[in-house]
């Protein structure tokens, strides 16, 4: 008997739109997973804070409001379906990230900054 094991990485959940393998059969009433991004105050970036389940975008925003902003953590919410996020694979990290390790000249640490310049 052959057993196929498919590896799914975080966020890379196959969906009908992506044309990849059929979604694994979860519990019948599972709601889709959404990733939540919160802006903590005006002028700052939206930061990933976690994920949650919801039936649609509107409900995802309200759930995010209830789950992630009840202690005044944010002033703006983004939600995106987890299946629409694609992630790099851990086993590719050698070719993707290691080459940068010996190229320290890419860091802006070789300049002499005048003392008057702060916040660099």
């Amino acid at each position: 008997m052959k057993t196929y094991i498919r590896l799914f990485f975080y966020g890379d959940i196959p969906g009908q739109e992506t044309g990849s393998a059929p979604a694994p059969q979860g519990p019948k009433n599972d709601w889709p997973l959404w990733e939540v991004f919160i802006r903590s105050k005006q002028g700052l970036d939206h930061k990933h804070v976690g994920s949650l389940h919801a039936t649609d975008a509107q409900m995802a925003i309200e759930n995010a409001r209830d789950v992630y902003t009840r202690r005044q953590e944010g002033v703006s919410i983004w939600v995106v379906k987890s299946q629409d996020i694609h992630a790099s694979r851990p086993e590719e990290s050698g070719e993707l990230y290691d080459p940068a390790a010996d190229k320290i000249y890419r860091h802006p640490t070789f300049y002499d900054l005048p003392d008057e310049i702060n916040h660099m």
Partner: protein, 244 residues
């Protein structure tokens, strides 16, 4: 003076008892996110109740505290409407009741923001933002369930059938309301309009000509209130002044 105090207690009791009811979902919600949503609403309502009880305690004077009013009054002294004390039922019942009650609170607090009593107006103004969210959240659930599956629809229809008899009391004037310059009968038309709009989206009808039960505002309650109070007041009654 007695009328003003009773009116504030009525507002406080409505919020406290529904807050206590909704708290029964804590840890039992259908999904984690909605469990937190209903618990947040529960806490909002208990927060509202505190604002009103604190004001009532000041009016009553002679060292009365908000805790005395919440924990040391008996069933017959509670002036909440019957709607809020009914058991939580299923998710359809809970969200429908929230929608009916929050829509009423929304109209009432909009009026109260211009009330001559500035303290009352300030509480209403602060609370209205929360209430607006409660209306939004609960109306979406009513629409979702009514316009959802066969089962969700039958659940919301059952909920409407069992809850409707408790809705009329919101608009029956009690002496403490008229004495405080509040005419609840005026709110009914706008309330029905609002309910009908959401019901239409869910493809359900609002019942007409139902027999309406009342008594809560007079302190005559259904059998359910005593059980809530027993659970809620047990600690203060058994260990007076206990804190943790």
């Amino acid at each position: 003076m007695k009328a003003t105090l009773d009116y504030i207690l009525h507002l406080a009791d409505n919020a406290l008892i529904l807050g206590q009811r909704n708290a029964e979902w804590c840890g039992h919600g259908p999904v984690l996110e909605q469990d937190i949503a209903i618990s947040n609403i529960s806490l909002d309502l208990i927060g509202q109740a505190r604002s009103f009880y604190q004001y009532a305690a000041e009016l009553k004077g002679s060292g009365t505290t908000e805790d005395d009013l919440a924990y040391l009054r008996d069933e017959r002294q509670f002036l909440n409407i019957l709607l809020v004390e009914q058991p939580k039922g299923d998710w359809a019942f809970t969200t429908l009741r929230q929608f009916l009650f929050s829509s009423y609170q929304q109209l009432l607090f909009q009026k109260l923001t211009t009330h001559a009593d500035e303290r009352l107006a300030a509480i209403a103004e602060k609370t209205l933002k929360e209430v607006n969210y409660h209306v939004r959240w609960s109306s979406e659930w009513v629409i979702r369930l009514g316009d959802g599956t066969e089962e969700s629809r039958s659940r919301i229809l059952n909920a409407i059938a069992s809850i409707w008899t408790f809705t009329g009391e919101m608009f029956m004037s009690e002496s403490f309301e008229t004495a405080s310059g509040i005419v609840v009968t005026e709110l009914e038309t706008s309330w029905r309009e609002k309910i009908k709009t959401s019901f239409a989206e869910a493809n359900i009808d609002a019942p007409d000509n139902t027999f309406m039960r009342s008594g809560g505002k007079k302190g005559i309650h259904s059998e359910h209130l005593g059980f809530i109070l027993a659970e809620m007041q047990y600690l203060q009654r058994s260990y007076p002044g206990c804190e943790w």
